[in-house]
């Protein structure tokens, strides 16, 4: 087998054994998974707490910014949104919007 083929096989295998891909960067996932305990795994809630599933990144980001500024009132999300920077909010929005 020539070296090109070997390289191609190795690349395939590296893809095969790679860690699963996700969007929003490390920050997006690190912050995102902490939301799951309230909003359900992958943001899919079973009860009265709203799902994050099916929202666009833009929707999630603007909601979080509105909670943070107090423009939108809430029982609890104002208190939580105040814990994050603009970058973290954008990253977590990106993370949830692209989950399958």
């Amino acid at each position: 087998m020539n070296s090109e083929k070997t390289l191609a096989v190795c690349c395939c295998v590296m893809l095969f054994v790679a860690e699963p891909a996700f969007t929003g960067g490390t920050i997006g996932r690190t912050v995102g998974v902490t939301c799951n305990a309230c909003h359900g795994p992958d943001g899919k809630s079973k009860g009265a707490i709203p799902s994050l599933d099916g929202l666009t990144a833009k929707q999630i980001e603007s909601e979080l910014l509105a909670f943070r500024s107090g423009k939108r009132s809430a029982t609890i999300m104002n208190r939580i949104a105040r814990g994050y920077t603009d970058n973290e909010i954008a990253a977590v929005a990106e993370y949830f919007a692209n989950l399958k």
């Binding site: 190795c10 996932r29 359900g40 609890i76």
Partner: protein
């Protein structure tokens, strides 16, 4: 067991004659592993870390060791005491974790050998690991209350580990005469679920108000302040005539509330410098606490009785390759709550995956969100976002978090409390 970096390189080199399809066919999943992780304890910390390691990297093999086939959650166990839901509804099995590729072994760990990277089980098996995660929860300091011991918990239940104990306390409440006194002894900090004793007092008061209105709840407490205090007391005033002569709840705090002994025969708590005897019809002793037994015997605890860890990875400061999460870890200012354990588990999972992939673990971030019911339709909450501080400790993100507003929508928060429970259970065991 090989180290991941060398194993991957060697593995790739060895594939010069094999295509991807052949690889799948010939070796299957077990032929290549990024490493072995063993998790001890199937509570909110252990189950979550097992599931999330598999989610973050399916090439890591994860084995969860847990002696019980089902887990009774402490969250919502106070709701069971008040008859708001059944004991069965707070029991959860581990079957769904196997769907994520977690191997479950029903056994008890009797020894950890960090030097050999091995765990020994009661059943005789020895498990090797590259990384071990210990999430053993709490154990009680039986010796700190004279007369109290594991052998009297059927008469004087603690109900601070849910399940059979929850049932015993519930049965005693049901059997109690109208006009009786329920005494709850609240432990000193730090302990599992800081608002727990006060949610318990609230919901027992609700039960008494509804079924045995001449009765009352007395809390004996050496602490002079407690979690969500202003919200609880406002709720008690609204629902249970707190601070009046007819109050269903009385809180004896400070030195007078310090419980030093119990009289099992007479069902009494002896408290304060004057050794006052508080006779009870139902005596619920919530003892002082320390990290779970295996953490003690494996040398993971310091003089405090809890486990010091590095907060980027939750790796023990005392034993390399061993991570400790959940109630057993020193985590101040995070409370020892289910949500905190879940949040720590995810940071730990991220770090374990990074380490087994030769990456530097990322910057951690944690949340605690905790609801309590003061009455069936009266919910209160605390929420906090935490980050690493410059000294490597944990701090609340300035400006974040806090308690529900006093004029908040407590009815809606009670609805969210129930949804919180459904979702965290699903996130952990689903």
């Amino acid at each position: 067991m090989f180290t991941p970096s060398i194993s991957r390189r060697r593995f790739l080199q060895s594939l010069s004659v094999a295509g991807l399809a052949l690889l799948k066919q010939r070796f299957g999943r077990a032929a290549y592993s990024r490493g072995q992780v063993v998790v001890i304890g199937g509570g909110f910390g252990g189950a979550t870390v097992a599931k999330y390691i598999r989610e973050f990297d399916p090439w890591i093999e994860v084995t969860l060791v847990e002696p019980n086939s089902t887990y009774f959650t402490c969250p919502a166990s106070n709701w069971v005491l008040a008859g708001l839901r059944s004991l069965n509804s707070i029991s959860h099995h581990y079957r769904d974790l196997t769907r994520h590729g977690v191997k479950i072994i029903r056994d008890t760990v009797i020894a950890i050998e960090p030097d050999k990277r091995e765990v020994r089980l009661k059943g005789g098996a020895i498990l090797s690991y590259d990384r071990l995660v210990v999430s053993p929860g709490i154990d009680f300091r039986w010796e700190s209350i004279e007369g109290y011991s594991a052998s009297v918990v059927d008469q004087l239940p603690h109900a601070w580990k849910a399940g059979r104990q929850t049932n015993i306390l519930r049965s005693q409440l049901l059997a109690m005469r109208d006009g009786g006194t329920v005494v709850i002894t609240s432990p000193p900090d730090p302990y599992r679920c800081p608002p727990g004793p006060y949610e318990r007092a609230s919901l027992i008061a609700h039960y008494l108000k509804t079924h045995k209105p001449k009765s009352k709840v007395l809390i004996l407490d050496a602490k002079t302040a407690f979690a969500k205090q202003e919200l609880f007391t406002a709720g008690w005033q609204a629902l249970y005539e707190f601070d009046t002569d007819n109050s269903l709840i009385e809180w004896v705090s400070g030195p007078d509330g310090q419980v030093n002994a119990v009289d099992v025969e007479k069902k009494a708590a002896i408290a304060g410098p004057l050794e006052e005897k508080y006779r009870a019809d139902v005596l619920n002793v919530i003892p002082p606490q320390k990290a779970g037994q295996i953490a003690q015997s494996a040398g993971l605890t310091d003089h405090s009785g809890w486990c010091p860890v590095d907060y980027t990875t939750w790796e023990s400061a005392l034993q390399r390759g061993v991570h400790v999460i959940g109630d057993a870890a020193i985590q101040d200012p995070m409370p020892k709550s289910a949500y905190a354990a879940s949040s720590q588990a995810k940071v730990c999972a991220d770090a374990v995956v990074a380490l087994l992939n030769d990456r530097t673990p990322g910057e951690p971030s944690w949340i605690n969100t905790c609801y309590s019911l003061v009455g069936p339709q009266y919910g209160i909450s605390i929420a906090e976002v935490f980050e690493l501080n410059r000294k490597g400790g944990i701090q609340k993100v300035p400006g974040s978090g806090g308690l529900s507003p006093q004029d908040g929508n407590h009815e809606l928060e009670a609805v969210y409390a129930r949804s919180w429970y459904t979702n965290i259970v699903n996130d952990t065991f689903g």
